[in-house]
């Protein structure tokens, strides 16, 4: 059970039970559908920009605890952040999920709760789906992202 508690930390279980920023933003500037075809998980990300700032962000969809908590923690962390900072957070989260590198940087704040996912290769896509949708929203290249 100890290893599992490293994956399913209390923060993750809490954000899964009560996801923050869950719902639509009617006047969003960007709406991105994210899909994980391997498991059928789907999420839609809504982003409202104010110049170079993420003024508001929300999500809807169905997914596992890792996927829901990652989406919830992400929206909580980036709301009000600049687009540049958000893109740099994307890189930090990506590194944390995929490489055995050093301790996650302090800037990640609560997002470090996702660090345990690294030990579960089959679950990395669950955690990264929301972040790929976010990158697509901010770079404006696609309307739909897939983990495959």
């Amino acid at each position: 059970m100890n290893e599992l508690q490293e994956l399913y930390r209390e923060v993750i279980l809490d954000h899964n039970r009560q996801p923050r920023n869950f719902g639509e933003i009617g006047d969003a500037d960007r709406v991105i559908d994210g899909v994980n075809p391997l498991c059928g998980d789907r999420m839609t990300l809504y982003v409202k920009l104010n110049g170079a700032t993420v003024q508001d962000v929300s999500f809807r969809g169905t997914g596992c605890a890792i996927s829901v908590a990652s989406s919830s923690l992400m929206t909580e962390r980036i709301k009000g952040a600049s687009v540049d900072e958000t893109m740099s957070l994307f890189e930090m989260v990506h590194d944390m999920l995929t490489s055995d590198a050093n301790e996650p940087p302090d800037e990640l704040e609560k997002l470090v709760a996702l660090a345990g996912v690294r030990e579960y290769p089959s679950r990395v896509k669950c955690a990264s789906l929301a972040w790929h949708a976010l990158r697509a929203a901010l770079t404006g290249t696609e309307h739909e992202v897939s983990t495959e």
């Binding site: 059970m1 599992l4 399913y8 279980l13 059928g40 789907r42 605890a65 890792i66 579960y120 679950r123």
Partner: protein, 418 residues
């Protein structure tokens, strides 16, 4: 090799199903510090030692290309490959080895029928009848050929129990129906379809019948002449053989009329730039060098199954399903998806508030392997209003301890997510 086959075939079928577990080396290992509890045989079953040995011998000593060389190894490889075909023919009681086409698996078998038979027979106004409980491999090939030919794909709905809606089947089967394709045993729900009855009705309506038998083969003794199906598709790796090999059984007269679907070596008699003549059956549908070693492995799997008393096997699996169904009732918020009266040993379920993937990861930590997700049957998931289920599937080598360990793992999941 053929001597060994004769010896094993002459033994009386074993009724002691519990003793078979020892034949499977993969099941003797520990995972995450726990004994492996393998409950994912519907995705892919483990191989008994006899299959592993047959693969090793073929690859280690008899490897060469088939139907080509005059040298010793090529003759041995050809003999082993064709002997596997003959054993498959005998096992499913096909009339002729010309009716046994080796493919990569069920998916390729169905694609072959859809492309070759469907492609040459269907036209606008025709209908292909399938069911709502099909695996994607018995949906998408038909969608593709319908799009090409202008035929219409008609799915028969299923009930809340996950059974075929028989009245709807009768209503949707019309003189426009040219092909009826259905799953013998549903991978996502465990439902066993009344194959013989459906085949009889389809024939009476003038339709040709394709049966997806991938999930039936490890649980049932299939006799294609008794069923009277026109095509029957299955995979080696779901019946204790290796991956990369499958079978399309087809009635000879239909296969004879069908055009080849892939061109290349093996499937021709003569080739010139003015024209090419096709090989006889089954070579016409086996372009290129086949997966010889896997075919030999499948032959060994068929030998293994032929030694088992299937009445005893079905009783063993029914007891496992009953025990699992009963014990799942102890888990708070658990609900079974698929409650057909006639059901194979497949238990698909959801637990309130815990996504199937989380269930899968948590029980894996206890050494329990289950499948989680949509099981390549998204229409089934939509029908039951779930995105995914966890699925425990039981094979001949599973026992009550396996189920008890699953329930222990599920209890931990509920505790963690409480």
């Amino acid at each position: 090799m053929s001597a060994a086959v004769t010896d094993s075939a002459s033994l009386a079928p074993t009724t002691d199903i519990a003793s078979l577990r020892g034949d499977f080396p993969a099941l003797q290992q520990r995972v995450h510090g726990h004994p492996l509890t393998y409950l994912d045989s519907a995705a892919s079953s483990q191989c008994p030692q006899a299959v592993i040995d047959a693969i090793g011998t073929q690859q280690g000593l008899n490897h060469a290309n088939v139907h080509r060389g005059v040298h010793q190894l090529s003759e041995r490889a050809t003999l082993a490959y064709e002997s596997a075909r003959e054993r498959v023919r005998d096992y499913i009681n096909a009339a002729s080895e010309r009716e046994i086409i080796f493919t990569r698996g069920t998916t390729e078998s169905i694609n072959l029928v859809a492309r070759s038979f469907g492609g040459s027979r269907l036209s606008a106004g025709d209908e292909v009848l399938i069911t709502w409980m099909e695996h994607h491999s018995n949906i998408v090939p038909w969608q593709m050929i319908c799009e090409r030919t202008g035929a219409k794909l008609v799915p028969v709905p299923i009930t809340d129990a996950g059974e075929l809606d028989r009245a709807a089947f009768d209503r949707l089967l019309t003189d426009r129906t040219k092909i009826v394709a259905f799953v013998h045993v549903s991978n996502a729900l465990g439902t066993v379809n009344p194959a013989r009855e459906l085949i009889g009705k389809a024939h009476a309506a003038g339709a040709v019948v394709v049966v997806d038998g991938a999930q039936a083969m490890p649980h049932k003794r299939v006799d294609v002449r008794d069923l009277d199906c026109d095509f029957y598709a299955f995979s080696g790796h779901k019946m204790f053989g290796p991956t990369g090999i499958g079978v399309l059984y087809g009635k000879e007269n239909l296969l004879e009329e069908m055009p080849p679907w892939q061109g290349g070596g093996e499937m021709i008699l003569t080739v010139s730039f003015d024209g090419t003549t096709w090989n006889h059956l089954p070579g016409k549908f086996e372009a290129g060098t086949p997966n010889i070693t896997a075919a030999v492995g499948l032959g060994a799997a068929v030998d293994y199954l032929a030694r088992i008393d299937f009445a005893a096997l079905e009783a063993h699996e029914a007891a496992l399903l009953e025990h699992a169904t009963e014990r799942l009732g102890e888990i708070d918020g658990a609900r079974i998806v698929g409650t057909a009266a006639d059901k194979a040993s497949v238990l698909s379920f959801v637990i309130d508030g815990i996504h199937a993937h989380d269930v899968g990861t948590i029980v894996d930590a206890a050494g329990v392997a289950v499948r989680t997700g949509h099981h390549c049957a998204m229409p089934v998931m939509d029908r039951f209003g779930v995105a995914a289920t966890a699925r425990a599937s039981f094979a001949l080598y599973n026992n009550h301890d396996d189920i008890d360990r699953l329930i222990l793992g599920l209890g931990q999941a509920v505790e963690l997510f409480a």
